[in-house]
């Protein structure tokens, strides 16, 4: 009787997908990789921006350079930092977890063109943070937020595979609408302020 109970329970109640969301570790892994990349690249880009690119940033090198404004080079430097950091992460994952590397496949190098990472660098430049530490915290926070959202969306998509959706809406269409609704849900956090 005990076993039957367990059997039924594991089929319907503790369902691997519905209750535990297993098989989503690759989403988690991508999320962690993105968080890591943000934590690494945002402070580096912050330093670059503060000591190389901004108008008058080069005065530490020579006072006569005070009028030099290299900020138009920002995009190309940021993307170079991000691309090389991605390469590093890729090599690390390949060395320490070949199975994960195999399952991530093409998605890992594509982190280099993940807009979240370049976006964080650009927002960092725009918001003018006071120190490299603030920039790091901003990177970490954005990464974890991204992770939460991607896991949430993946979870809902797994469930939606069993729902009856109008044919033309199946696949991407419904995914967009779900993501939009989740975005609205996340907006309920607007205005929260600690301390």
């Amino acid at each position: 009787m005990e076993e039957l109970n367990l059997f039924i329970k594991s089929i319907f109640i503790d369902n691997m997908i519905f209750a535990y969301f297993l098989g989503m570790c690759s989403f988690l892994a991508v999320g962690l990789a993105v968080t890591f990349m943000l934590v690494v690249t945002v402070p580096i880009n912050y330093m670059l921006n503060k000591y190389v690119l901004q108008e008058g940033a080069l005065t530490w090198l020579d006072p006569s350079l005070a009028g030099v404004d290299l900020s138009f080079l920002g995009l190309i430097l940021f993307i170079a930092v991000i691309a090389s950091a991605t390469q590093l992460v890729e090599m690390a994952v390949e060395k320490f977890s070949p199975s994960l590397y195999a399952s991530l496949g093409i998605f890992l190098p594509l982190i280099a063109v993940n807009c979240a990472i370049l976006g964080a660098a650009l927002f960092m430049q725009q918001r003018d943070f006071s120190s490299a530490w603030t920039a790091t915290v901003y990177g970490a926070g954005s990464g974890i937020g991204w992770l939460l959202a991607i896991v949430g969306i993946a979870a809902i998509r797994e469930k939606i595979a069993y729902s009856d959706i109008p044919k033309p809406l199946r696949g991407v269409g419904i995914a967009f609408i779900i993501t939009g609704l989740m975005g609205i849900a996340f907006m309920s956090f607007l205005g929260i302020r600690l301390g």
């Binding site: 138009f72 993940n114 044919k167 991407v172 609205i184």
Partner: protein, 207 residues
């Protein structure tokens, strides 16, 4: 000039092979810039320019780029073009460039561009690549404009900043839907466009 193949490269991305609706590339930038029509159109033109010229440049270089480092070469070409576009915008249309803020920079990571370079420009001659770039850029722009049209109309009751909903509607209790201005509504609008598009193109439907 326009052989059959070139025509396909130019016109297919407008509907049958649309980069946003069918290839699902470059979604993120379509969200933030579509709250009103003007930034959406400027964004579309910028993407067409970057896409067409990066396609041509990569197509000229395609035999000399070593495969291992092609991503970096492509990124450098794209980033250089985006910087040019950004500087032109700041110089000639400062207000819109402020509105677009980081999203011009994010053209670099717009997957449409990388995707077309990888899928088309690496194996084709410059002229077809140019047409492919223009076609895909136009396909992208069309969607941006449609989304922006609905969001601006329903969200602020304007088109290109001009009032189109007459005052008597407001007098009788009509209200702008402020939700349409928020980024998530771009996704939902896009979802509905995909729904409509696939209802008319049955071969694109998923089982």
């Amino acid at each position: 000039m326009l052989s059959k193949k070139n025509k396909e490269a130019l016109f297919n991305p407008l509907s049958k092979d649309n980069p946003i609706l069918v290839q699902i590339l470059g979604i993120c930038s379509s969200l933030a810039v579509t709250a009103s029509l003007e930034p959406a159109i400027v964004m579309g033109i910028s993407v067409i320019a970057v896409l067409a010229f990066s396609n041509v440049i990569i197509s000229f270089l395609r035999k000399t780029i070593p495969t291992n480092i092609r991503i970096i070469v492509q990124l450098v070409v794209i980033a250089a073009l985006v910087i040019i576009v950004q500087q032109i915008l700041v110089a000639y249309n400062y207000d819109v460039s402020k509105k677009l803020s980081v999203f011009i920079g994010l053209i670099i990571t717009n997957c449409i561009i990388m995707g077309r370079l990888e899928a088309f420009a690496m194996h084709n001659r410059p002229w077809p690549s140019f047409l492919d770039g223009v076609g895909n850029g136009l396909g992208y722009t069309i969607i941006l404009v449609i989304v922006a049209f609905f969001r601006e109309l329903l969200g602020s009751g304007t088109l290109f900043g001009f009032k189109v909903i007459p005052q008597w509607c407001y007098d009788h209790g009509y209200m702008d839907n402020g939700l349409m201005i928020l980024p998530p509504m771009a996704l939902i609008t896009l979802g509905c466009i995909i729904w409509y598009h696939r209802a008319h193109n049955k071969e694109l439907q998923e089982d």
